[in-house]
Amino acid sequence: MAATASEGPLSRALPWLVPLALIILWQVSSSLGWLPPNILPAPTAVLQAAWLKLQDGSLVDNLGVSFARAMSGLIIGGAIGFSLGLLNGLSKRAEMLLDPTLQMIRNIPHLALIPLVIIWFGIGESARLFLVALGVFFPIYLNTLHGVRNVDPQLIEMGRIYGMNNRTLFLKVILPGALPSIFVGLRFALGVMWLTLIVAETIAANSGIGHMAMAAREFMQTDIVVLSIVIYAILGKLADSATRALERKFLAWNPAYAKV
């Protein structure tokens, strides 16, 4: 972090300068014909494609489908990972029973399961849901477990001395103590979630942003292909910002997350 950077408008604009310059360069190269549209369409062409897809409604439809898939996978895989993380964090016996197996499975890249998943589920909705859920499961599980395990034992002793029952101890001491780590897991999970969805939709789907990109490829509609990529980038950025906002709200006590 630059110690001398001031809070002026110039320093706030600074991070945008390079992307802006790149887009201008891209536009100019396209307009001058250095970049043929079948390799990379001009930014204006991508915007035009976005406008067209917005008007015929297909962009919103595909976006909705992709978003719903991402969220359902996140909720299913996240809920299971969170619950198992809590269970294994709170019970030594459960951890001994389950954790070694989970640690072993963790080493398999979940995308390597795609052929098997297609055999099991076909190319339907459940296949994609399974992959996304599996992908987000591990980061959430590992970080929840780690968070619960690392709650300051002195605080737990303090809670017991003050007569907290298990429920109160969990709600007031263990869960808040594990929360920063759980958020780390959530951030990782969001990255995995989009990545898995892109792969799953690109390989086998008849709707969604990934499908939109693959369909456009068949007709060499590079503008729509680029549009899809941009949309994925925006979705990823939005998810990240949402997590940051949640962190600022729930971890306000922690100087590391306090609003600057």
Binding site: Q154, L155, E157, M158, G159, I161, Y162, G163, M164, N165, T168, K172, V173, P176, G177, L179, L251, A252, W253, N254, P255
Partner: protein, 252 residues
């Protein structure tokens, strides 16, 4: 609005022994601590001070002998550790409310918390996070949390050990003032012989699991360090603590 006196309760130990497995930590401890007394406990590291403290407030049970402390039956014993052990995610007020126990909330609880925060000099800081407080202020919150339920017996295990010298002096005065206002029985472990003499009605020295010195401190409060009487008491304790080793004494 300040806190009402709560009064103290006595503690009595008869031939108390504490062992962890084969390791006998305390043996033949006989102590009568009258209600409201401020007892300072000193001794070398590892001699069993914390263990004695934990026994007296019921965090551990005796291996043999009899420990009688009415405060334990009334759940009116509390402890303050060297580290404040505050919940970082709870405001000052909510941390103090932890001391009220389960299901204690609402206006009465708020008033009790506000009164005790006033008592320890933290009025107006109710809404801050622990990370926004200095070390001394954090320890005051811990003290308020321990006192909010009006205990009659308060154990302090090196409560000022982590603070810098100037803050320590402030906090000693605060501790003495709070104790005088509320009247609980105080049991304080400290490494600092001067602090033990400055605050205690009585100082006991533990060595090899036994009470080897039991000294009444009959000086008017607030006590001035450096007076001949004060120095004489300090000297007596240090002599017993270090025997004839002049270098160890010098270092203290």
């Amino acid at each position: 609005m300040s806190s009402q006196p709560t009064g103290g309760s006595r503690v009595s130990l008869k031939d108390v022994k504490k062992a962890f497995g084969d390791n006998v930590v305390l043996q033949g401890i006989d102590l009568e601590i009258p209600a409201g007394q401020f007892l300072s406990i000193v001794g070398k590291s590892g001699c069993g001070k914390s263990t004695l403290l934990r026994l007296m407030i019921g965090l551990d049970s005796v291996t043999a002998g009899v420990l009688d402390a009415p405060a334990l039956k009334e759940q009116a014993a509390r402890i303050v550790f060297q580290e404040p052990r505050l919940l970082p995610w709870a405001s000052v007020k909510d941390n103090v409310a932890v001391g009220l126990g389960e299901g204690q909330s609402g206006q009465a609880a708020d008033q009790q918390a506000a009164a005790i925060l006033d008592e320890v000099g933290l009025k107006g800081r109710e809404g801050l996070w622990p990370s926004q407080l200095s070390g001394g202020m954090r320890q005051r919150v811990a003290l308020a949390r321990a006192l909010v339920s009006q205990p009659t017996l308060l154990a302090l295990d090196e409560p000022l050990g982590a603070l810098d010298a100037l803050t320590r002096i402030d906090m000693q005065a605060l501790l003495e003032g709070v104790w005088q206002d509320l009247g609980f029985t105080a049991l304080m472990v400290t490494h600092d012989v001067g602090e033990a003499v400055a605050l205690g009605d009585r100082v006991i020295l533990i060595d090899h699991g036994q009470v080897v010195l039991d000294l009444a401190v009959d000086l008017p409060r607030p006590r001035k360090r450096g007076t001949p009487e004060f120095a004489a008491l300090e000297g007596q304790i240090l002599d017993k603590l270090f025997g004839d080793d002049p270098r160890a004494r010098e270092a203290h």
